[in-house]
Assembly symmetry: C2
């Protein structure tokens, strides 16, 4: 009945926002700069989001969901914990290399004290860690000395922070690869399954 909205435009806005924030930070990513990068008029952002804060908050939720979805998808192929965590770290590297800006955006905001993580997302991931721990312990693959927080450490903290070091160029201009993933897995398995 009327003009068709171009889905690419909204997608461009999202991409532009993410990359501008990673490049310039929240304050440095102005609406006009984002709109210009997205090839869209300034005002058009406000047809989709009520404010800049809400735009970023939404994208952060999307990022969180994307991360969580990947985690959950990998868990579907769970056979043993060792196998799972190996695949998971490996796939995480691919995901990060494929969507580097999204990964940086997520890591940056997760450590920002002005942005709070979704309460439901938080509960979901804590729950998921708990269930993974129980399964591993039932199969006698994870010792009783391990806690949910240990699982969170090897699933979230250690991989994200180590891959982030690479993204920040801490070790020079190297991007994380299969070798990096294997190294992270090795470190994490020592934590979970002291040999």
């Amino acid at each position: 009945m009327a003009r068709i909205s171009d889905p690419a435009k909204l997608e461009n806005i999202k991409k532009a926002t993410v990359s501008m924030i990673v490049e310039k930070g929240y304050g440095g990513a102005s609406i006009s700069a984002i709109a210009a990068k997205a090839g869209v008029a300034d005002g058009y952002l406000y047809r989709h989001y009520p404010s800049k804060t809400e735009l970023v908050r939404d994208l952060f939720s999307e990022s969180t969901a994307m991360f969580f979805d990947y985690l959950q998808k990998e868990l579907e192929h769970y056979t043993t914990f060792t196998d799972f965590i190996t695949r998971y770290h490996r796939g995480l590297v691919d995901l990060i290399n494929e969507k580097t800006d999204h990964a940086k955006f997520f890591i940056q905001l997760i450590n920002d004290f002005t942005f709070e993580i979704d309460e439901t997302a938080k509960q979901s991931i804590l729950d998921l860690c708990h269930r993974t721990l129980e399964r591993g312990q039932r199969d006698h693959e994870i010792p009783a000395t391990c806690s949910s927080l240990d699982i969170y450490t090897v699933m979230v903290i250690v991989p994200l922070q180590i891959f982030s070091l690479y993204l920040k160029g801490f070790f020079g201009k190297i991007t994380p690869d299969g070798k990096t993933a294997a190294m992270v897995t090795h470190t994490c398995l020592k934590l979970i399954r002291p040999s």
Copy 2:
């Protein structure tokens, strides 16, 4: 010969900047708001720093140095790795509780892709990890399978990220304490010294 400068004023500026950035983020922490909080005129900041960016960059360097100094001070009392890491985590909790805003500021900026860490500070900490690893291996306390990055993980990544979860209220309104430190140490020791 002339009027004496009040050292408390500069200190107030630093404190106000740190707390405003933690509370509102870099963009939200305006010069006038910082100056007001510090009880100082807007223009006075520019007697000490050429720009807002430089002010924050300097404070970040100071934070990094403070963290590094604490780490180095603890290393002076090194007897065994186990003892060291236990004391170190325990002291880190105290430091974080004592200077919560500084800790948040440091954690936030270390994960910000627009702020780069000092090259010399980076080298120093990598070097320190390497030396700690070698000492631990010489004493047969740390197995040969461990890497410098493992040391970095138990010295920086895991404690900072887990304490940060507490600061963000991830587990409710609990502040990290001796028990939290012991838990982190336990997790980290499993990683380093698989029993």
